[in-house]
């Protein structure tokens, strides 16, 4: 750890904290339909859109209607994405002539599911698979809409706590359009131009062939990168224009863009805690959630940064010195960029997995076992540590229900949260959402470990676009590293997809029909089967009348509750997966310290 590294981390924490209140208050005004500074400019456009949709702002939806609207919207978006990807060969803006061959049906399904669920898992190499138009019209649009849909759901869940005796939890279409027009759009335009200023391309020009100074030749692929990059980060999507994602100098050219990108991952999720506090009429409730998230985040970051600074003993033996001039230890530079160095890479990795972003500025697969485990553990805790745009807040509220339930059991009282009695139904829905996530990630991982593909169906695990055809199978499970690390790759893959994160231990060869189809299902289950129980819970809570606080009520706006909440996330999230972590990163760490290699 270095002074400069810690300074950058402190600056990051201060920036996010400073943004939380102003942005959170603004979002509260937007979702409550109160006038804001942008209402005069955007209001008329907004009203025209409602007229075209045939919805009225004042229409309130019950939780079932809200869920159906979300599902219908996601289904139409996913279908359009699938069709655009499959037809990219017949569409314009395709400078490198990609067609359906680069985007077979299984990959197009996996990719459409991935972008419609805010996951942005990419099993393909973008610069060798998708046209410029696919990037813009199919994938980037889903970055906007899936983020806005996540925010809409978060706000709907908050309304469940905020409203009393109400049948409805808001209007999905209104929440969706407002999130897009009032929150994402005004930030993304200056953000994209800032990125261009720093060196991110934004052009429709054809690729340029460069004759290198020392005889090498390069095809420099550009495109409308900045406009995609801005929403990719702000919407916690994470799907790169290039394979190397935010490690690619065209996506993240300078240390400053790197800092701004990390801040933009956390900005909206952090501010939503403040929005929540305002909606339930007690800002301290929001700060309690913020505090629990911040505590978990800082613990993870400290472990990750320390592990990456300490490096790999076997590499130290080769007498390789840290390139950071002020660090005596051997930093782990495999899969990291010189312009960032260790601290901003560890910070990015912790943030992108704590939020459900999944963009990477360094290759998580080459992290030390404990550094990589922090990323994995963040995802396994259902990305509630600030979490995705919207998804983080409703995930944390799910844990809050479990926390007050556990606290209620301990003191023998009926649990309450925000003046609402938490009954059997609410707890059941919260636990259902939790268990669905766990069961999905764990069982797909187990299945991939056994890889039940008979030789006669070997094509199910044929690497798309491989020539000659490369059939992978049970012998390798497609992992890129042997031993415990290979198991971590599989666990990370399904945890990341179920949790709608999208980052990867990318040594896994995931572009085969088997992985694209199973991953696609995991992503859809992880998104919608988590959201629907939570909307049901919200609908039930909204109908309830508040009970006045008594001397026996558990105060949920205190540091004590924040501590309890963080503990519940760790105990529930981490203990569920402890056996799996012991087989993966923990075993690998012991092997690494013993200087074993496989």
């Amino acid at each position: 750890m270095t002074g400069h590294g810690i300074l950058e981390i402190v600056l990051f924490c201060l920036t996010v904290t400073a943004l939380t209140k102003p942005l959170g208050v603004y979002m509260h005004r937007v979702f409550e339909g109160q006038p804001t500074a942008l209402s005069r400019a955007i209001g008329p456009v907004e009203r025209v859109i409602y007229r075209l949709l045939g919805v009225r702002e004042s229409d309130d939806m019950r939780w079932t209607q809200y869920s159906f609207a979300l599902l219908a919207f996601s289904a139409v978006g996913m279908l359009l994405t699938y069709v655009l990807l499959r037809l990219q060969g017949a569409l314009p803006l395709n400078p490198r002539g990609f067609g359906g061959g680069q985007m077979p049906p299984d990959l197009a399904f996996g990719t459409a599911a991935s972008f419609a669920t805010n996951t942005n898992w990419q099993s393909y190499v973008p610069e060798a698979s998708v046209s410029t138009l696919s990037n813009m019209l199919a994938l980037t649009v889903q970055n906007w809409t899936s983020a806005a849909a996540g925010m809409a759901v978060a706000v709907a869940v908050c309304r469940g706590f905020a409203r009393h005796g109400s049948a409805g939890i808001g209007n999905f279409w209104v929440d969706l359009i407002r999130a897009c027009l009032y929150i994402l759009l005004p930030i993304c335009i200056p953000y994209a131009l800032f990125l261009v200023w720093q060196g991110v391309p934004q052009t429709f020009a054809a690729p340029v062939v460069a004759a290198g100074l020392d005889g090498s030749r390069q095809t420099l692929l550009t495109g409308p990168v900045a406009s995609q990059e801005a929403i990719k980060m702000l919407g916690t999507n994470g799907g790169g224009f290039f394979n190397a994602n935010s490690a690619h100098p065209f996506e993240n050219p300078t240390p400053l863009t790197n800092f701004v990108q990390i801040v933009s991952i956390f900005a909206i999720p952090a501010a939503l805690t403040c929005t929540f506090g305002r909606m339930v009429g007690n800002p301290r409730q929001g700060w309690a959630i913020f505090g629990a998230m911040a505590a978990l985040f800082l613990c993870g970051l400290a472990v990750c940064y320390q592990a990456e600074t300490a490096g790999v003993p076997a590499v130290r033996d080769i007498r390789v010195a840290a390139f950071e001039d002020d660090a005596p230890g051997a930093g782990n530079m495999e899969g990291k960029e010189v312009r960032f160095g260790i601290a901003p890479s560890a910070l990015f990795a912790t943030v992108t997995t704590a939020a459900s972003c999944g963009a990477v500025n360094s290759m998580h697969d080459s992290y030390t076992p404990l550094g990589g485990m922090v990323a994995l553990l963040n995802i396994l805790c259902d990305e509630t540590v600030f979490g995705g745009v919207g998804a983080g807040l409703f995930g944390m509220l799910m844990y809050a229900i479990v926390a007050v339930f556990i606290a209620g059991l301990m003191v023998g009282r009926t649990p309450e949260y925000l003046g609402k009695k938490i009954g059997k139904y609410e707890v059941r829905m919260a636990i259902l959402a939790l268990l669905i996530l766990f069961a999905t990630a764990a069982s797909w991982t187990a299945l991939a470990c056994t890889m039940p593909i008979p030789p006669s169906a070997a094509a199910l695990n044929r690497v798309n676009g491989s020539s000659p055809a490369l059939d992978l199978g049970g012998a390798s499970n497609n992992v890129g590293n042997p031993g415990a690390h290979g198991f971590s790759e599989l666990l990370y893959a399904y945890a990341s997809q179920t949790g709608n994160n999208g980052s990867a231990f990318a040594g896994l060869t995931a572009n085969t029909p088997y992985y694209n189809l199973t991953g696609g299902i995991a992503m859809l289950v992880g998104r919608f089967l988590m959201i629907i129980p939570l909307l049901a819970m919200s609908g039930s809570l909204a109908r309830k009348q508040p009970t006045p606080a008594s001397a026996g009520s558990l105060a949920t706006d205190t540091p004590t509750f924040a501590f309890l909440l963080a503990g519940v996330v760790l105990v529930v999230g981490a203990l569920e997966y402890f056996p799996a972590l012991a087989l993966g990163p923990i075993a690998e760490n012991l092997q690494m310290l013993a200087r074993q290699a496989f």
Binding site: A72, L80, T140, T145, V196, D214, L220, F242, V320, A506
Partner: protein, 220 residues
């Protein structure tokens, strides 16, 4: 569900047009007007020919140039195949992989330069003793495979080799390194670093006194 289909369809169409076509086009227009150099990919030209991008690394193998980091992008610094090795810290291939040649001299497709192998070649080509510490960035592959930078220490250790190959003084190469070392951005962010392409252009411009084509406008 059926009555939600109309708003679903219309929303998807409106938002697709707005965020998929209108916005990227408008931002492209603004970007080309405000920052034409960066928007086009920060291309570097020499004698009217594009020789690369100021933000993307490229291969240098001649002894008279600064060498970039090893690269896992395609056959090395291939912008159509960006990425890292994705090999983990207990992978013998990463730690102890050996560069092998077939009997005929053609490279073995299964070969891989592990960190130990890379450190040995780095010490050999720069005439360092086996006990000298090799810079971490010189023996590891970056995440993108297109890392345009090396650490200042890596550049300094290459200075003697470059001076020998170019028959110039080590001090003059050290001057080039000093002139091309970028500090932390705004004094705070990231790491001090040397842009390999820019430093090598400066090497080529040495003595001739001609102005070299520095990548401009990278926003620092």
């Amino acid at each position: 569900m059926i009555r939600h289909l109309r708003p679903a369809l219309v929303t998807v169409l409106i938002l697709s047009a707005l965020f998929g076509l209108v916005l990227p086009t408008a931002i492209t227009g603004a970007a080309l007007f405000l920052f034409p150099h960066q928007a086009g990919g920060s291309l570097v030209q020499l004698g009217g020919r594009v020789i690369g991008s100021g933000v993307i690394g490229q291969t240098f193998a001649s002894p008279g140039y600064f060498h970039p980091r090893p690269s896992a992008a395609g056959a090395g610094y291939d912008p159509l195949a960006s990425g890292g090795t994705n090999l983990g810290p207990t992978n013998a291939k990463l730690l102890r992989g050996r560069h092998r040649d077939h009997a005929g001299g053609a490279p073995d497709p299964g070969d891989f330069d592990g960190i130990g192998d890379l450190a040995a070649s780095y010490r050999a080509e720069n005439q360092l003793a086996a006990t000298d510490l090799a810079p971490a960035d010189a023996v590891t592959r970056s995440a993108s495979g297109l890392d345009p930078h090396i650490s200042p220490r890596n550049a300094i250790l290459q200075a003697a080799r470059i001076a020998r190959a170019r028959r110039v003084s080590v001090a003059s190469v050290r001057d080039i390194i000093d002139q091309n070392t970028e500090g932390r951005q705004w004094g705070i962010f990231g790491q001090p670093r040397v842009n390999v392409l820019r430093a090598n252009l400066a090497l080529d411009g040495m003595g001739s006194g001609q102005a070299t084509a520095h990548p401009t406008g990278t926003g620092r």
